[in-house]
Symmetry: C2
């Protein structure tokens, strides 16, 4: 039954079209409004281009029974000899909803015809002429390396679209401040004139509107003109944050013309001018392994880690809870017979727990409910940041989840040039399928052990290490499901891993 | 001029009455509505009881010109041989707006007549019969040690009231769960019947209201009945959090009957059953020094550290900004002539900076403005958590600041019993006057150096160490103000310091 469904899906898929509606099968994870059945997909389903799969291999990749591990082919190189491996889930969705991208692009000033191509205009809409054709290097511009993994849910549409476009948005926004990046020694000007050149505000006093003699500047006006110095690094962080927002807006906008299903967590690593920016919106994770020490580069955003932000929103905007949910957290559901008794609770301002007398309103379903991997926002979704999900509603209701989700990543910066890196020092990026069953320390030990046994000159070593990580997390199929060597359950989720050597940029320009 | 004012204030003060209105002198720090001139103070101004000051010493303590350091008298003991020292500011307010308390109390079941004495009733109002007379130990109950420092602003009223009452509120709330504290080995029950005994919810399915056969419990109902296990420790944390909230509510309520001026930061350390709970709401700081290593026990809550929370509130509730402020942050004020140009900004969701085109709305004053110690919320207040401030408004406007302030502390727990402590291992609690000029490391080095030269059996050694810290931060008066030995400026603020030996509890029961 499952297999025939897959076969059917694949025959459509290989022809470049998704079977409309079929990917909306996961009713338990919240209803996705499907008024879009007649719309074409924004991008056809597929695996990352760099895998260069034949139709046969693409079909082979979807076998839930065998869960083949896909890796880079020998001979196909990603920048920095990046290693990559992926595996499909054990049956929870027909297709692999993870996506990935790895690109080297060049940041340059917007040329006349592409100028403003991806800029948000005054009405908040985007031009359609995304400068997709500009990725061919012509030797000019500032090189930027991009790695992204996108863990989709309730469909593949958002993940695929983000994997195709997010790095372009980041590149184009950086292009707008290209002239600032080219002068890294001077801090970015606070104000820019319309032609992009720095605008120097004239000093003046109090509330006066007219420019005055600059020699007359008093202490008071100096204080009035407190100026924060903003670093170029925090400007790049801001560009990445706003590019995620722009990506999310673009998905929303294009849903009127295309079928773009579901949502996705997004984890991106960007190398620019000697620094590595790691931006995370969701529950994927990145760690740096240096000298077999773990340096965490992300925090996960889940109903538990973002509980207080979500409760605060529910508290301030109760109408978003649709009269069905309460923003107060309880350790379990309350029964009607418990009215008037006292129960442990915590609200948006609390970390500890206290007792409160149960009132009628407390019988509503809690906004945040469940523990660990089973924690959900409004009984629907287990991650609280990401892209897409604009149509996601609570099952059988008209309550939208999106206001509680954030598309803004947390960005951490690692200064590559400040450290000396050996060939076994890497950045590992993985979707939650990896980290659910393998700890940071286990990943570090496995990577270090594997790489130390590899020929240091083998360009495949990082892909082989990624494959090894994947096998450790997927396990092998036994009578009682996918099992790890220690007989614990392996991950039944889609898993995607990048292993990126930190000394990699030294071998390239 | 300043001195005659002080003399005048003191003559009233020594008589037990504050000169109404005189303590509202700090117009630049935001207007405090004074419709309360005819009301008596809730508690008269004074220094902490344990200093046992004569009227002459009390007056002496207010000399801004000499800034005498007050310490515990030899022979007057605080629990654990706690050390204490304080000094008044260099003139920024007439009186020392810092307050402190140090108490040993006993947690016990509420007795019949005091039952519910400080409980929030259904209407949110409190009974007046705060059980102040109950602090005399009668040998029963669970001992609780309390240290609090309260850094007042725009008046002393809130700080004095909190120093008199906060520990009672914490003690009384703990009393309500006394029967749970007495059984530390079992986790607190999720639900309590009205008589306080654990209430066991009957298992049932789905949405059914009637109790069913417990043997019929299915897997589904087990999942429905997910129960979080809440630790006793997080219950104590919740008690402390809610007691701070109750303290804040009490200040608001009693303002209708008493003059209670200003607001205060509150930092409290509570020792209960082998654990030290450090609760901080404001910009005071506590560190543990163990083996001359610093363990930070607090984070400061300031316009900069809480920028995103405040901006988020301004974004969701723009009416709180009174059409005069914008929740968007800019690196400096914008001039009208800059409309249409691009300026660096960040909103509630951003950590980095980006450029935006300036529109009319951006000309409003920023909700968060200024850097470091000069950062302010709505140009008025430099701390974002604390007690009181209910009437605080933006100068010359009707915009209240209070909605942006939080009275909930962050609570950190340190398990005293898990570590072996020597006589030089201490908890240092200090108001910002201390930490503005002395780093954690400098405090640790000074404490360690000082204590190692002290007779370990001298009960005054922690007070002498506190005095030493104070002198290092106040400095000495030279022609160009209060100066540290390295000629940097000393702190002109009120300074209050507790030095609490962590081995102290071993010598007492």
């Amino acid at each position: 039954m499952m297999i025939s469904k897959v076969k059917n899906a694949m025959s459509n898929l290989v022809g470049g079209m998704m079977p409309h509606g079929h990917h909306h099968h996961n009713h338990h994870s919240g209803g996705q409004t499907c008024g879009t059945d007649s719309l074409p997909p924004r991008f056809p389903y597929g695996r990352p281009d760099f895998l260069d799969l034949t139709p046969e291999l693409l079909q082979y990749s979807t076998e839930h029974a065998s869960r083949p591990v896909l890796t880079l082919k020998r001979g196909s190189r990603l920048p920095w000899q990046t290693g990559y491996a992926e595996v499909i889930n054990a049956g929870k969705s027909m297709l692999n909803e993870d996506q990935a991208s790895c690109e080297k692009v060049f940041v340059k000033k917007p040329s006349g015809k592409h100028r403003n191509s991806t800029l948000l205009d005054q009405n908040g809409s985007y031009s359609h002429c995304l400068s997709l054709g500009l990725t061919t290097p012509d030797g000019t511009g500032i090189p930027l390396h991009f790695w992204g993994i996108f863990d989709g849910h309730a469909g593949s549409g958002a993940a695929i679209m983000a994997s195709k476009l997010l790095h372009h948005l980041i590149r184009d926004r950086l292009g707008e401040i290209c002239h600032l990046l080219e002068n890294p020694s001077s801090a970015p000007p606070i104000c820019l004139a319309k032609n992009g050149s720095p605008y120097q505000a004239e000093a003046k006093k109090g509330g006066a509107q007219e420019p005055e003699d600059p020699d007359a500047v008093s202490d008071a006006s100096v204080r009035f003109y407190m100026e924060k110095v903003v670093s170029l690094e925090s400007l790049v962080m801001g560009v990445i944050e706003t590019a995620f927002k722009q990506m999310d807006d673009l998905i929303e906008k294009e849903k009127s013309s295309y079928a773009i299903s579901g949502g996705c967590c997004a984890l991106a690593a960007i190398h620019l001018m000697g620094k590595l920016y790691v931006a995370n919106a969701g529950d994927s994770r990145a760690i740096i392994i240096r000298n077999n020490e773990v340096i965490p580069m992300t925090n996960e955003f889940t109903p538990e880690s973002e509980r207080q932000r979500l409760q605060y929103l529910g508290f301030l905007r109760p109408e978003l809870l649709g009269n069905e949910f309460t923003h107060i957290e309880f350790p379990r559901r309350i029964q009607h017979s418990e009215l008037g008794k006292k129960m442990l609770y915590r609200d948006h301002s609390m970390t500890g727990w206290a007792y409160k007398t149960i009132v009628e309103d407390d019988l509503k379903f809690p906004l945040i409910y469940g523990e660990g991997k089973k924690a959900r926002v409004m009984a629907t979704i287990g991650v609280t940041r990401g892209l897409g999900d604009h149509d996601l509603k609570v099952y059988n209701s008209n309550i939208y989840i999106k206001p509680f989700l954030s598309c803004v990543p947390e960005v951490k910066v690692y200064n590559l040039d400040e450290h000396k890196h050996g060939p076994d020092d890497v950045l590992v990026m993985g979707t939650d399928g990896l980290w659910d069953v393998t700890t940071d320390k286990e990943v570090a030990d496995a990577i270090t052990a594997y790489l130390s046994c590899c020929d240091p000159s083998d360009p495949m070593r990082y892909t082989l290490a990624a494959q090894d990580l994947l096998m450790r997390s997927r396990g092998v199929l036994k009578e009682r499901g996918w099992r790890l060597p220690n007989d614990r359950l392996g991950s039944g989720d889609d898993i995607t891993v990048f292993v990126i050597p930190l000394a990699g940029h030294e071998s390239e320009t």
